[in-house]
């Protein structure tokens, strides 16, 4: 153990700027490396895995919903919070979007707007439960998760809402190609990630997200209205839930009340695999995207290999453990955590 620590220190002594960069970014570099290794493994096992048809229609498309949810929830996790409601909230938003779009004959833009607004409101409710009622985020969002699940069933009257052909272009939100060969859903994920990265790194909201996660008490003492910012951060997470719901309905051509449960855990796993700390204070959007991609590459690859489903679950579980454990070991060596 001590030998390895020395080796790392030795590297640092002789390091140049490139090395310093690599060291600072080593978490993401390693995550990206794992992604590449997994990708190559599946490609060797079944070359068809690397076909563009599978990469775009299979892997990237499968990342759209979880990816958007994960981006939004990265902010929440960086504050040291958690949002368990994003899965069932996706179903509730989807149903509300479906009902309003079909009833009012809203177009694509109107439907997206409704989705983002309703999603944002659910996020704000979470934020208010946490800041005004002082509920722990785990409990507050667990309550919202249950309530959203129930409301989705009630509002839908247990029936899926079909987006009929009267609504022009709804299926092209996710499946169209503004850029040839790239499904629009993937484009939305990319743009959503870029916007999130800018907010996280270049705005006051982003700075306070990190500050609250590193030390909420100190942030409060320095005069920051932590409660207001928290509501804004959960609201921002909700906007991404809204977008995820819109993409989901477009992929399915309908909104179904029985979806969404469990999506929150996939999103949280993606965030953590991407190197964001559950304890708060640390995290990146690019890491989250890499984490989400690792999950979908893995699941898609196992399906392409036609591994028995029971074993697929086991492998996914093992990879989550490996990824997070590996990251912990590295950080401990680097002295980031004790």
């Amino acid at each position: 153990m001590s030998k390895e620590v020395k080796a790392v220190e030795g590297e640092e002594v002789g390091g140049n700027r490139l090395r310093a960069f690599a060291k600072r970014e080593i978490g993401r570099v390693l995550a990206l490396g794992s992604l590449v290794v997994i990708f190559i493994f599946f490609t060797i096992m079944r070359p068809v895995f690397a076909s563009w048809e599978n990469v775009s229609g299979g892997i990237l498309m499968s990342t759209t919903v979880t990816g958007l949810l994960a981006i939004g929830t990265t902010f929440v996790i960086i504050t040291g919070g958690i949002d368990l409601s994003i899965g069932t909230a996706t179903a509730l938003v989807a149903i509300i979007v479906g009902k309003t779009v079909m009833a009012l004959n809203l177009g694509v833009a109107g439907g997206m707007l409704v989705g983002v607004i309703v999603g944002g409101l659910i996020g704000v409710v979470n934020g208010l439960l946490i800041t005004i009622l002082k509920l722990p985020p785990f409990i507050a969002t667990l309550a919202t998760m249950k309530a959203a699940q129930g409301l989705a069933l009630i509002v839908s009257d247990l029936k899926p809402v079909l987006f009929t052909t009267d609504v022009k272009g709804w299926d092209s939100i996710a499946q169209g190609n503004l850029i040839p060969k790239i499904p629009n859903g993937v484009l939305i994920l990319f743009v959503g990630a870029v916007i999130a990265a800018i907010i996280l790194n270049k705005t006051v909201l982003g700075r306070y997200t990190f500050a609250i996660g590193s030390n909420e008490a100190a942030t409060k003492l320095s005069g920051v209205k932590v409660n207001n910012w928290l509501v804004a951060i959960y609201g921002l997470g909700g906007l991404y839930v809204g977008m995820a719901a819109v993409v989901l309905t477009s992929r399915l051509g309908s909104a179904r009340p029985d979806l969404g449960l469990g999506y929150e855990l996939e999103a949280i796993a993606a965030v953590i695999i991407g190197g964001t700390s559950l304890l708060g204070g640390k995290g990146t959007i690019s890491g989250t995207i890499i984490g989400a991609l690792i999950m979908s590459v893995l699941i898609n690859g196992l399906r392409i290999l036609e591994l028995q489903q029971e074993w697929q679950y086991v492998v996914v579980g093992a990879v989550i453990v490996l990824a997070v454990w590996g990251d912990n070991v590295r950080r401990r060596r680097a002295g980031e955590i004790s």
């Binding site: 599978n54 498309m61 919903v65 079909l162 051509g253 309908s254 029985d258 399906r303 591994l307």
Partner: protein, 332 residues
Amino acid sequence: MKKVLTIVAVASAMALVVGTGSAVNAADKTLKLELVSKGETHQFWQAVKKGAEEQAAKMNATIHFQGPANETMIDKQLEMLDAAIALKPDAIGYAALGTTESVSHLKAAKTAGIPVYMFDTAASCTGGVPSLGASSDCALGVAYTNSTAAGSLAADKMAALIGGKGKVLVVGHSQTNQTGIDRRDGFVNRIKAKYKSITLLPVQYSEGGDALKAQEIVSAALVANKDLKGIYGTNEGVSIGAGQAFKAAKLTKGKVKLIGFDSGKQQMANIKSGLQSGAITQSPMGIGAKTVEALVNYVRNKTVPKNLIDTGFYYYDKKNIAEPKIAGNLYE
């Protein structure tokens, strides 16, 4: 509660007194049946009701059909059952929500001399695990859908569609739910026993019938197996997901055959457009009709019904989707 018990007791006493008298003219009098269902507003139960009403009209009987607002309201349903017993109808049909909770109530009906036949789901009258056959104590039997046989029918239809050979993928909606297991095994076992030239890929599951996961599973299967001939989905969500995967992959309609389960607006649209080959539907109307038939025959002719009545199921496709016997069982 006391009041209900009193009513039940009075009703039982009356049954003893008038029991023989009513049998005399049972042949020509209009029989009154109480049907206590799991629900009333859902389209599935509406179809059960319709089937029961039609059968009752044919057999000179009337039915009163009721059920709670949703399928978690066991208490509410048991109140309805008690009230039905208190009315002292000629017979009762009952779809068990509380498979164990309802047993004492059903015994009260037996004491009162009211024959009970169950539909859709049986109560566990022997006090043990809910089981379809265990009905001797408190009911004459149960009318239900034989999901295994329905799965086998899907297998026969799939074999016919793909010419008896090629690769087929089964996407299940649950590894633990009994209906899911029966629909899967009925299909798989039939293929293995009868269609040796069909290769079954490992069964994949979209837990809970998550349509999005089903879409992803089928997308991957289409990439991994360029020669895939058919897909069988065990519920509505899976069928929808598979259809969407076909759309996303821009498959020529009918290139890969898809047989699903149940109905719903989107699945029916997919079948009409040719994206999906067909689906199996249960026969909720048959459930209603067979229950009424069993009860009326028992009361009027003392014909003891079979302990288990399979109420049937249908395969439907673009051609027969509009036929009355099919259309009545489909819901949006």
